[in-house]
């Protein structure tokens, strides 16, 4: 079996194992999950080891015919089980490995319905991996939408008091996003064809292969999405219109303001490990979707709308920052900081410069590590006192010195202190914004406000909660024990990782640059 298939099927196998082991083995479920996540990370590392950094195209490609439907006079449609990895997906696959492992350790606290929890967790791992590895749009969509199910149950069954509301809100929002993607998928399926199979089969073979979809020559003459045909939808060129639809679909996932309202609710209600996964990996699928699907298929529209997208990124950065400033719930504050930080990803992607795109991928990895850490930190406090209000604490540094140190590290890293990964990501995306020929400079200028805001809300929170004399709202000082070894195991590697990535950013840039240079050639023609 190919390595990439292994990455998808390994967690599935783990899920099946958890599902079918007798109930007497319940105590091993978390160990099984941890083991599978560790092997998963290892497998991702092996992929990295054998990955050719200088090769910009897809590697480890694996292709099997899956569904072939004859459409009579309309030709045929072929859907493949098609996997591959390149410089854009590899960093995210590695990130997934790390975050899922941390999430597995963080899942130790789950005590109810362990069989269901751990099988769903492994199922989620498999579908996230599938999303990053799929090269067939249809396959990607299946993983993308199927991912909602385990997530829905993870929030709905193990979440906080308003979990039902949060779960269905999360589900409906993201489902709306995937429905929009579905519309574009149907339109693409009508327009694009596979040149080689069509030649062999003497008929039109429609395809979902992203490699063919990216090439303008593979669109049927005068079809809806052919660049030369002048079809219009609602007074807008069909390609531009469907790009916006696709963009909205992924924007819900990222999330971009104004599609972000599901995120704070989902985060507040989700249990810690689910929050870690949600912020750490799930949001990245939105950003990944922009690059891999929306920009890849509609480069002309992406260039056309660069300004609009840049403004949306800027609005996300600033609006998310102001909202974070106003929150009293620590978890909600971090959720809004996620909105703000993911705005940088959109800004970087929209700039269409090497700095911007490399920076965007880097920012996704960096934010994955940092947000995982932030949510673990929040979880630590919540586990002890069942209270996440910022005002409820003062002077936590005294009883919890190790906790305070690590919290400070991840706060400083998140607000963009040089030396940590957050700084590099923001710097490069902003540089991209300033250098871009596709958007005016004031967008990037306004976005820098986000960094100031991040400094404000993180430092203010740090000051309010950790400094000064020890005080808690409900007199729960006795519960405030310092970090346990398990919590240190989660936080220390993450802290090390953000430092290493911050000091040696070329680890990521080496992987991404060749692919992105090639990717940007699509746009230089315009």
């Amino acid at each position: 079996m190919n390595l990439l298939s292994l990455l998808i099927f390994l967690p599935l196998f783990g899920a099946a194992l958890v599902l079918f082991l007798p109930a007497s083995q319940t105590k091993y479920f978390k160990w099984i999950t941890l083991g599978f996540c560790a092997v998963e990370l290892l497998a991702a590392a092996v992929v990295y080891h054998y990955f050719d950094l200088s090769n910009p195209s897809f590697q480890f490609v694996e292709q099997t015919d899956w569904i072939t439907l004859s459409l009579g006079s309309l030709g045929a449609v072929s859907i493949d089980y098609l996997l591959g990895i390149d410089g854009i997906s590899l960093p995210l696959v590695l990130l997934t490995g790390v975050v899922m492992l941390v999430g597995a350790v963080s899942s130790w606290q789950i005590t109810s319905r362990q069989r269901a929890y751990f099988s769903l967790y492994l199922l989620l791992t498999a579908s996230i991996m599938g999303c990053f590895l799929a090269l067939d749009f249809f396959l990607f969509f299946l993983f993308f939408e199927f991912m909602l199910l385990p997530m829905y149950f993870l929030i709905g069954l193990w979440g906080g008091p308003r979990r039902e509301y949060a779960a269905i809100k999360f589900f409906l929002y993201t489902l709306l996003g995937s429905v929009l993607i579905l519309v574009v998928m149907i339109a693409l399926y009508l327009s694009a064809f596979d040149p080689y199979s069509s030649l062999n089969a003497q008929t039109i073979v429609h395809t979902f292969d992203l490699r063919y979809l990216a090439d303008g020559h593979n669109y049927l003459p005068n079809s809806l999405l052919n660049g030369l045909s002048a079809h219009q939808i609602m007074g807008l060129d069909a390609r531009l219109f469907l790009f916006l639809v696709l963009f909205a679909g992924f924007a819900i996932k990222l999330p971009v303001v104004p599609f972000h309202t599901w995120l704070p609710d989902a985060h507040v209600e989700a249990p810690t490990p689910v929050s870690v996964v949600l912020a750490g990996v799930l949001l990245k699928i939105g950003g990944y979707g922009f690059i891999r699907i929306a920009y890849n298929i509609f480069p002309d529209a992406a260039a056309e709308y660069a300004t609009l997208l840049g403004i949306l990124g800027m609005v996300s950065i600033v609006y998310g920052g102001f909202n974070a400033l106003a929150q009293s719930d620590l978890k909600k504050m971090i959720a809004y900081s996620s909105v703000s930080h993911m705005g940088f990803v959109l800004l970087g992607v929209a700039s269409l410069t090497p700095e911007g795109l490399n920076g965007a991928v880097y920012q996704m990895v960096s934010h994955g590590v940092l947000s995982a850490m932030l949510f673990v930190v929040t979880g630590v406090l919540y586990d002890r006192t069942q209270n996440r209000q910022i005002e409820a604490y003062r002077g936590l540094a005294k009883p919890m010195p190790a906790y305070t140190t690590l919290t400070a590290i991840c706060f400083f890293a998140s607000l963009g202190l040089p030396g940590f990964s957050g700084f590099v990501g923001e710097l490069f995306t902003l540089m991209g914004g300033f250098q871009s020929e596709f958007m005016p400079k004031w967008i990037a200028t306004a976005s820098t406000l986000g960094i100031v805001l991040a400094a404000a809300y993180f430092l203010w929170t740090l000051q309010r909660m950790f400094f000064g004399p020890l005080w808690t709202q409900k007199g729960v000082e006795s519960l405030l024990a310092d970090l346990t070894p398990r919590e240190k195991i989660m936080l220390l590697p993450l802290a090390a990782l953000t430092l290493v990535l911050g000091l040696f950013p070329h680890f990521i840039f080496d992987i991404t640059s060749a692919t992105i240079t090639e990717f940007l050639k699509k746009f230089s023609l315009n």
Partner: protein
Amino acid sequence: MLPIVLLSVFGIVVLFLGFSKSKNILLPATLLFLLVTLIANFVDWNHQYLYFNDMLWGNNASMVFSGIVLLSAFFVVALTRGFEQEGEAAQPAEYYGIMLFSLVGAIMMISYENLIILFVGVEILSVSIYILTGSDKRNLRSNEAALKYFLMGAFATGIMLFGMALMYGATGSFVISDISEIIGTRAWNEQSQLLYAGLLMLLVGLLFKVSAAPFHFWTPDVYDGAPTIFTAYMSTIVKTAGFAALYRLLAGSLASLQDYWFATLATITVLTLLAGNVTAVYQTSFKRMLAYSSISHAGYLLIALTSLTAKSQSSILFYSLAYSLSTVSAFGVLILVSQQQASNNYDAFNGLAKKNPFLAFVLAVSMLSLAGIPLTAGFMGKLFVFTDAAQKGTIWLLVVAILASAIGIYYYFRVLIAAYFKEGDLATIRIAPFYKVVLIIVTTLTIVLGLFPDLVLQLV
């Protein structure tokens, strides 16, 4: 032809078996008969046939449609458990006999070549279902449902017949292929008013049977009032047969008139989608919600019909199969739960997952499939239907359908929320082994077809 003859004979045999002392033989005998018919259904495979003086017509597609109907009937019959639960008043032999007879009507509706056969098929199916709806004789709700269904059904039949008569007046023939030819070649402008009026009334009659809005008002009451097992029966079989009949009519003889009926049918499609989905949201009874959901699924099927592209038939076929499978398992779970709780409401499912994880899982797969979540047959069905609309270029129809399916998520998930997230005191429900096997098969099929839809589609 063979399945029609077999079913008629088997129906009579089952009635006679009812005289014997051992009632236990009825269920296995009926299942065996259905299985034999299912196999016999495919003897003409790869042949296009015409029987009874060109009154019956069939090809692979119509055989697969009949196969879906027979398969759904097999599953529903398997879920009856010999009507042991229905008490003293139950007449199992008659129910099984009527079910077999009704299938004759369904198959006639699927493979008619002459409008006479369509009419007779519709009537055989409907009259059987009137009886089954009212089979719970002491229950006023069942009585009322039967009367409503009967009066409305007879009314719709009248309209349908008037339409057929007008079409006959305009074209001078009842034969599908002749009508198509006459419309295509001759100058029939003189009688075009007759033809349009006839076409419209014929469509209204058939749309009534598949419960499309605005002819759907009977559906919730009848579905709610009928004994649950027969609700499952009619919601799967009548719908599949009805849509096969509609497709045959529109594609076989009226395709060249698409410009004329398109606007009407598209309006009805949108109305059906909205009426079904929006009203379903406000239901508190799971059974009634399934009734509205069946209306909304009629809407999705109508999309494929309205678009009428080269692959509409396979879309309708796959969608009906996916819908039938999910509906059977949903009703299968409902029957067990409502017996335990004496209620059809969502609340009855509270805490189902705790003691009955298997039933909860079956319910989940079925709801996900009805809602159209990937990796289930329902998703593939929706995808095919939506591509039909895109192919025809009716983007606005596609948008309505997609919004409707987003609404659908809400009410399908309500029962899942009850089953998984709510606390309840539902005890462990004992499931008969055979019952369990049927649920497993149906659920597996739903998932397998979601992964490999070409298993069925390459047949057509």
